[in-house]
């Protein structure tokens, strides 16, 4: 019997050595965790988020950290697999003992991780898109990206202004596409929009001419909306032009809000509209715009450090990190519960995604004004003047 504890300690040490190649934790650090889809089908989300978090945590630490402590950032890559994400979430809570988490690239991984953080009572600022993350409100779960519901509303608002009521919808069958499709179908009636025809495409499909041909033939369609992210929308846009449908306005979603979409879709992207954060048009914002300073600063930092065009996805990570850091400052400590309360009190925070004011009933804190309706002109983003 006296033997057992000895073995235990011994082997446990071995196990630790084996499983933990993490650096020895210095005193006076506060651990912030993150689980991102740095690889896999959603890597175009996870990669910029990963880069952003790392570069800004370094910045913050260089400036002396938060509340007198340096931030130790722990990032795990779930490869887009919800089950893996769930395990890494447990690892962050149980092993790394993080005080808070900024991450969850997709709605799928986020939903899988929520129970872990709710049970552990650790604040979790998600970077996932769907509204179901914060509706119903969960005590410890927040998010920074605009919801797909808002995207639909922003698009419909613009359609209404253009007196277009009958639309066709072509959505990806991935999480993002399916979720936004559902939201749009729900929101449409309120704006007097009628979805005349619907098509879908798989996340990896390489040719959507068949679906678009059907939409082309559908009776009385005045515009087409494409909820989707990844390379799908780029191909849709190319095929759209190929089939000579450009007379009908094409609306993309905030899921393609990065320069690479314009590059991929090329000339076909001309005239495509989409709702997106101010970040994409930072330099075009009027100087009076409160967001201008923040977004220009982030854009330059990101593009100079990461050597790739800025995307709103990385911006969400930036917002999440700073919402958390501000909350930590106000909480002036590293107690998860206190931090959570302070995050909920976030007021007038100016991020790349908009001006965030959270409440007990709103764990997102953005309204439609956070979205700008953009149009692609001459291979670049342009603000659409309201009412046009």
């Amino acid at each position: 019997m006296k033997l057992l504890p000895a073995i235990k300690v011994h082997v446990a040490a071995g196990a630790v050595g084996l499983l933990f190649c993490q650096p020895v934790v210095a005193q006076q650090t506060v651990k912030v965790g993150s689980v991102l889809s740095v690889t896999g089908p959603a890597s175009f989300l996870g990669e910029p988020e990963d880069k952003t978090l790392r570069m800004y945590v370094d910045k913050i630490n260089a400036a002396g950290g938060v509340a007198g402590k340096k931030i130790e950032l722990i990032v795990y890559d779930d490869g887009g697999d919800a089950n893996k994400a769930r395990t890494f979430a447990t690892r962050l809570i149980e092993d790394d003992k993080v005080v808070a988490m900024v991450g969850g690239s997709t709605t799928g991984t986020t939903m899988a991780m929520i129970p872990v953080f709710e049970e552990a009572q650790v604040p979790f600022i998600s970077l996932g898109g769907a509204i179901e993350i914060v509706d119903p409100v969960r005590k410890y779960v927040f998010k920074t990206p605009h919801t797909d519901k808002m995207a639909c509303e922003k698009i419909f608002e613009n359609l209404k202004q253009r007196k277009l009521t009958k639309i066709g919808m072509i959505s990806g069958t991935d999480g993002f596409g399916a979720s936004m499709r559902a939201q749009c179908t729900k929101a449409a009636p309120a704006y007097g929009i009628e979805i005349v025809a619907e098509e879908t495409y798989g996340p990896r499909d390489s040719d959507m001419t068949a679906q678009l041909t059907k939409l082309k033939g559908a009776a009385g369609i005045q515009a087409v909306v494409n909820p989707g992210f990844g390379q799908g929308p780029a191909i849709v846009t190319r095929n759209y032009a190929q089939l000579g449908m450009t007379a009908m306005p094409l609306y993309q979603s905030h899921g393609v809000a990065s320069k690479s979409f314009i590059e991929l879709a090329g000339a076909s992207a001309e005239g495509v509209r989409l709702p997106a954060a101010a970040l994409l048009v930072g330099d075009k914002l009027p100087d009076g715009d409160p967001q201008k300073k923040v977004v220009v600063e982030y854009k330059t930092t990101y593009e100079s450090t990461a050597k790739q065009p800025v995307s709103t996805f990385g911006g969400h990570a930036y917002d999440g990190l700073y919402v958390l850091v501000d909350a930590m400052k106000r909480a002036n400590g590293t107690d998860s519960k206190k931090i959570r309360d302070e995050i909920e009190k976030t007021k007038g925070f100016i991020g790349t995604g908009g001006i965030v004011t959270m409440s007990t009933t709103d764990h997102l804190g953005l309204d439609l004004s956070a979205f700008r309706m953009l149009e692609i002109k001459g291979g670049d983003w342009a603000l659409v003047q309201p009412g046009s």
Partner: protein, 315 residues
Amino acid sequence: MPPWFGHRYVTLALLAVTIGLLPLFFPSTYYFRVASLVWVSAFAAIGLNILMGQAGQVSLGHAGFFGVGAYAVAIGPTHLGIPVWAAVLAGAVISAGLAHLVGRPILRLKGHYLAIATLGLGVLVALVITTESRWTGGPDGMSVARLTLFGWRASGSSTWYWISGGLLVLGAWIALNLSETPTGRAFRALHDSEVAARVVGIDVSRFKLQAFVIASVYASIAGSMLALMNGFINPDQAGFLHSVELVTMVVLGGLGSVVGSIVGAAVLVTLPQLLTVFQEYEHLLLGLIIILSMIFMRDGIVPTISKPLARRSRA
């Protein structure tokens, strides 16, 4: 007493002891989580190994049954209000039914043709799960009600460690039982020579079907367990890549070896946890490890290691 009698219970005892003592070495409940994942995957792998290792029939669509089980416990309580334990059974029954229905025609196929047919089956199941979002929550998945038995609510990593661990012992016991019985011998016989098996009176298609159904039930139950453990499920678990992962577990651990399936599962579940510290080199290393271990342990980890031991014991 016949010689094999001993082996079976020695193996089981070792397994039980391992499961029982392992927690002593866990620094945190995170290890319970990882271990539970191993047990659940191992459970599915053991079932698949009955089909692949004993009966010699490949299935590249087994995650489909895994998904059926998982979504049974997700949909049953949520949409139909049936108790969770009943949903687990329902999932198993549905999987068995599906396997029986589809197995009859496709198990006539041989080798790669069977592989693609089962693969197709898996893809179809995954596609339905992804698409019928009104029931399944679509690609983002849906949350799963907690398992409650007589008012007791199963939650927390350690609880699930014991549930999945106990289940694994049961699954291993049945698999070990099988191999030395008329049914098990029939499986192994048709694996070695179908024509000879038929000539000694074995109804080959019937036994292939039995193996397929057994394996599907194992997968289904494993799926249910994972869904309940996570309190959440999404279509990835029913997808092609998960099917490939299961097959890899079986082959890596060793075809026909129950212990092998457990080892294979342990390797494939823990590797990503270990390799994650290597950042973007993770996948490179994973691929490399799989290739090398299959080249140098072509019969699988456990058979390759145990063979010399066995020889020594015989001498």
